[in-house]
Amino acid sequence: MEIRIIVFGQLTDIIGKTELAFSDVNNTDELKQKLSNMFPELSKIKYAIAVNKIVAQNNTALIEKDLVALLPPFSGG
């Protein structure tokens, strides 16, 4: 199973690319934990997670071919 993750804003600085993929995460909480382990700086950053373009308000199950987007807030005007 493969979950595609696309990354926006300043999160790309930390992750180092705009897209990555995982095969071993079952839900968004696991994904967050995995990302925090791989990129410790991420654990201190607030960002919205969308699964298939819908913002996840709670832990959300992930299945094969899901597209996850990580969107940080920014404030420039």
């Binding site: 926006f8 373009k53 709670n58 807030p73 404030s75």
Partner: protein
């Protein structure tokens, strides 16, 4: 303006089958408030004025700086040092003398926001900082006004419509449903620090004006309960559907009284910089969210504290009992004067690096003095 001139001025949009004279009439009767006459505000204001929005309000306390001219296209070299709000009014009046334009040449705050916004039908957020964004969002929720949101950073922009039900549901979402928690220091990168492509706020601000005009005219599909992320480098758009937040532990002002008492500067303060917290910040934090408070003094040390609940772990045993500290909330450590709590904070930051923790500056002694005075 007589009706022939009016027809001529707006002819190109009145001709549009979906628009017509009825929508033009709606624009003329509409009142739109633009917060911030900067990179986003300038293009939004120009198109709203050109399109014939009958009343436009502009909130900005800043003056024009040469570094603004790269993207804030209402201003010229001659305007440097002048008020943005007032300069914008004169430029827009020259563009369309038939509309009413009001300037609010001061900062929007808890004290004035509700009064200013209540005079308008719709708000465009073109501000450049998080405290203002949360403040404007909450005010619009309390007053039930549609809010067209926009934000930019480097080559990326976000645009969306809050507090407006889409055609299929009665659900209204807002900025707090997307970003309920206060931003961290890295989110607070501003365009001053990391830059922005000048044309990007032009694109996003123009999209904000487009959404405002669609909402007023009642045409097309509005970005209600949605946010679009645009990347100028990759020429890509990505949309996010927003659903109502379910996290009830996050508190935000829901009525006028709570709004007046909410400290937006504190809420948006950098919380990844670990260190001291002032007495007033500590009291504000206690009010707005559930926190864990730890006393690291010796047992029975004075003064006694019965004003709030706390855990007692003397500094000598702090490391030994560190695992008993709950980690889900922000932590504030105190001692008598604020010195031992800094040592405890150092240990905590080392052992539990993911916690957000502070040491109470001046200690509980200062807190007691401060609170007995007030």
């Amino acid at each position: 303006m007589n009706s022939t001139n009016k027809y001529k001025r707006y002819q190109r949009q009145i001709l549009l089958h979906e628009f017509g004279e009825a929508a033009q009439e709606k624009l003329q009767n509409a009142k739109v408030l633009v917060i911030g006459a900067g990179g986003l505000g300038c293009p939004a204001l120009q198109y709203l004025a050109a399109a014939g929005v009958g009343t436009i309000g502009i909130v900005d306390f800043d003056v024009v700086d040469i570094s603004n001219l790269q993207r804030q296209i209402l201003y010229t070299v001659e305007d440097i040092g002048k008020s943005k709000a007032e300069t914008a009014v004169s430029k827009l009046a020259a563009l369309n003398p038939e509309i009413q334009i009001r300037s609010f040449n001061f900062q929007i705050t808890n004290e004035n926001a509700l009064q200013i916004i209540s005079d308008f039908d719709l708000v465009i957020d073109g501000s450049d900082n998080f405290p203002t964004r949360y403040l404007v969002n909450d005010a619009c929720v309390i007053l039930d006004k549609p809010l067209v949101y926009g934000a930019v950073l480097r080559f990326e922009g976000q645009v969306g419509v809050f507090n407006l039900a889409d055609k299929h549901s009665n659900i209204k979402t807002n900025y707090r449903d997307l970003f309920p928690e206060s931003p961290d220091s890295t989110s607070k990168l501003s365009c001053n620090e990391v830059g922005v492509l000048g044309v990007l706020p032009g694109i996003i601000g123009t999209m904000q004006a487009t959404e405002a005009i669609k909402i007023i005219a009642g045409v097309g599909q509005v970005l209600a309960n949605k946010i679009i992320s645009y990347n100028a480098l990759s020429n890509s758009f990505y949309d996010f559907e927003i659903t109502p937040a379910k996290n009830e532990t996050i508190t935000f002002p829901k009525n006028e009284n709570e709004f007046l008492n909410f400290n937006y500067e504190w809420f948006c303060k950098s919380q990844s910089i670990k260190g001291e917290i002032s007495i007033s910040e500590f009291d504000a934090l206690r009010r707005i969210e559930k926190i864990t408070i730890i006393d690291v003094r010796e047992m029975a040390e004075l003064p006694l504290v019965d004003e709030f609940l706390y855990i007692h772990i003397p500094l000598v045993n702090f490391e030994k009992f560190i695992s008993t500290i709950p980690q889900e909330n922000k932590i504030v450590i105190f001692c008598r004067s604020g010195k031992r709590s800094l040592k405890a904070l150092e240990i905590l930051n080392k052992k539990l690096p993911n916690c957000i923790a502070f040491s109470l500056a001046g200690g509980i002694e200062s807190w007691k003095i401060n609170n007995s005075n007030s």
